[in-house]
Symmetry: C2
Subunit: 342 residues, 2 copies
């Protein structure tokens, strides 16, 4: 509250939901300003709460993806995976989910049934139940099919303390697999584009892989899933929060050839494109190989790679050694790139 009051003369635009700088500013200027408290101020994918005897983690995400059904998933499985992943990013073992539905009048029951079935299947596959729900209906034209907000509760194993403040120069930056699949799958479906091979969303639950990683290396410094805003937003948020820099190696960052081609065609940088089944892990350099081996043991981490290191100086600056040997700044987008991507 030491900063001057924000300018509130404008209106919300699509960029406020894009996962870039505009959203971060809206959250800071309005939500954090009024709701400030030590828990919220953790600012992580899930919040740790001291529940007396041990720590729990809690997280929430509204899902407004369009289209509702896409190659590799639908809003139901996405909502389950997204919330499981945010819990996993706190090193937590997911215990239960909640699911609140906002349904537009006229939405076909058969589609709602398909979405609920997909949620149920994702929950059973993950071994985590939906413990409670809610159902609201809004008039035609006041919603868009269905929005699903999932929250998640997890238990944080003793000794695990994951968070951006633990970033230190010299640490290794790992990525669990190729980037950009989810965003490109949604965009292709939405715009009716075809790229030879069908590009599928990477939507997947990462909590089992993370449980193995945490069991082997409890001292992992940071985990984060690069969703809206892509890898560039995730790494910029982290380095900003921690006051450190990062140096990446472009050639080490996996991108599927078909995704790279689609990005080229659409004028997108895969670093800015959303993922729903990937994680970034920052760890001590001596733990990197161990963690890569654990990840590669899981389907979700088969293509895990060391992509760079934390550096001193230039806090908040993520740089990258390019494929042709130069260096460039990896900025995060200010506006929105792909609206309604999750």
């Amino acid at each position: 509250m030491t900063t001057p009051p924000p300018d509130l003369s404008g209106a919300v635009d699509m960029s406020h939901g894009g996962g870039g700088r505009a959203m971060a500013r809206l959250i800071r200027d309005i939500f954090l300003r009024h709701l400030a408290n030590p828990l919220l101020d953790q600012g992580h994918d899930a919040t740790r709460i001291d529940a007396g005897s041990g720590h729990i983690a809690v997280t929430t995400d509204a899902h407004v993806i369009s289209p509702l059904f896409f190659p590799g998933g639908d809003i139901g499985s996405l909502a389950v995976h997204g919330t499981l992943n945010d819990l996993a990013m706190a090193g937590a073992r997911p215990v239960a989910l909640t699911a609140a539905f906002i349904i537009e009048e006229g939405f076909p029951l058969a589609d709602l049934d398909r979405i609920a079935a997909s949620m149920g299947q994702a929950c059973r596959a993950a071994g985590v139940p939906v413990a409670t729900g809610d159902t609201k209906v809004v008039e035609r034209g006041k919603g868009d099919g269905v929005f699903i907000t999932t929250s998640g509760i997890g238990v944080v194993p003793a000794g695990v303390d994951i968070g951006p403040r633990r970033l230190r120069p010299g640490q290794a930056v790992l990525l669990s697999g190729p980037i950009g699949d989810h965003g490109i799958a949604i965009l292709s479906k939405r715009q009716g584009l075809e790229f030879g091979t069908e590009i599928r969303s990477d939507s997947a639950a990462l909590h089992r892989m993370v449980a193995d990683m945490v069991a082997v290396v409890p001292g992992i410094a940071v985990l984060r899933d690069p969703t809206r805003g892509g890898l560039s937003a995730t790494l910029n948020e982290l380095t900003n929060a921690a006051g450190v820099g990062m140096l990446l190696d472009e050639r080490a960052i996996p991108v599927r050839p078909e995704v790279a081609a689609a990005c080229e065609l659409l004028g997108l940088d895969p670093l800015n494109v959303a993922n729903e089944g990937k994680l970034v892990c920052v760890c001590e350099p001596e733990d990197a190989e161990t963690l890569l081996a654990v990840m590669r043991n899981h389907a979700e981490g088969r293509d895990a790679a060391l992509i760079g290191h934390v550096t001193v100086g230039q806090p908040g600056f993520v740089r990258m050694t390019t494929a042709i040997g130069g260096q460039r700044v990896v900025d995060w987008l200010s506006g929105e790139q792909l609206p309604r991507i999750c």
Copy 2:
């Protein structure tokens, strides 16, 4: 899954969100069918989870109220109160909330700020923080201003076990105060009606009053807040779930004169009108006076009253001795009565 598959040829209509029979059927036929698990099957305002060392409670509600600002509150304070109350109905001490916002493009920042400020104030007054949040934006015409989904986590004190299965014939049914204020306040504002005195929503947090009630009588059988669908839906749900009946005394049920007059004019039964700061408590008859005294000690329970008893037979039937001495069945509405009331 022993019942035949439901008919899925139709579409969602406004009645599916009204808190009556149509909503209960939709939840059973689609959501519970696919998501079934022992936690969800508790079917209560908040779900108890055994977290190893003690029980936690978890709940969620999407808020789609229209208008966003109304006499006695706004969507922000309502979202906080509603979720605190659902936790309290499990006898839980609220620990933290989550808040996910779905905002329509073009929504004024000043209104968003006002809503966030109101949430912050409701949280501070309640002593419960928002621990984590989410911000999504949808295109103009794909939402309606702002929808807020809040989830809540609480700790259930040892020995407290509140739930419909604990209903027994002979128990007393208590109500914490006059009914219908919230629904009539919203309807008046929405339709620009004036009734002399302004009717204000009863939106309020009940967790402090409940904490005192539970401390004095840990053996309370059931607590429930009569929100959508009103007192009639709440009591019918309870008696249905427990296979018991109920006999109420109409003269004992408090209704403000201005609310009664408005209901008369609008052709509504106050028993069917939503409340956001009231609770129903079912307890052993010998505890009734003690609990009424505890409630009357709080502003939120000043007008608490004994309104009836649990009876044998006619499971699922709620009857009422009317003011003129007859008896009638208190049915719950099948369709929606007041859409977008919370």
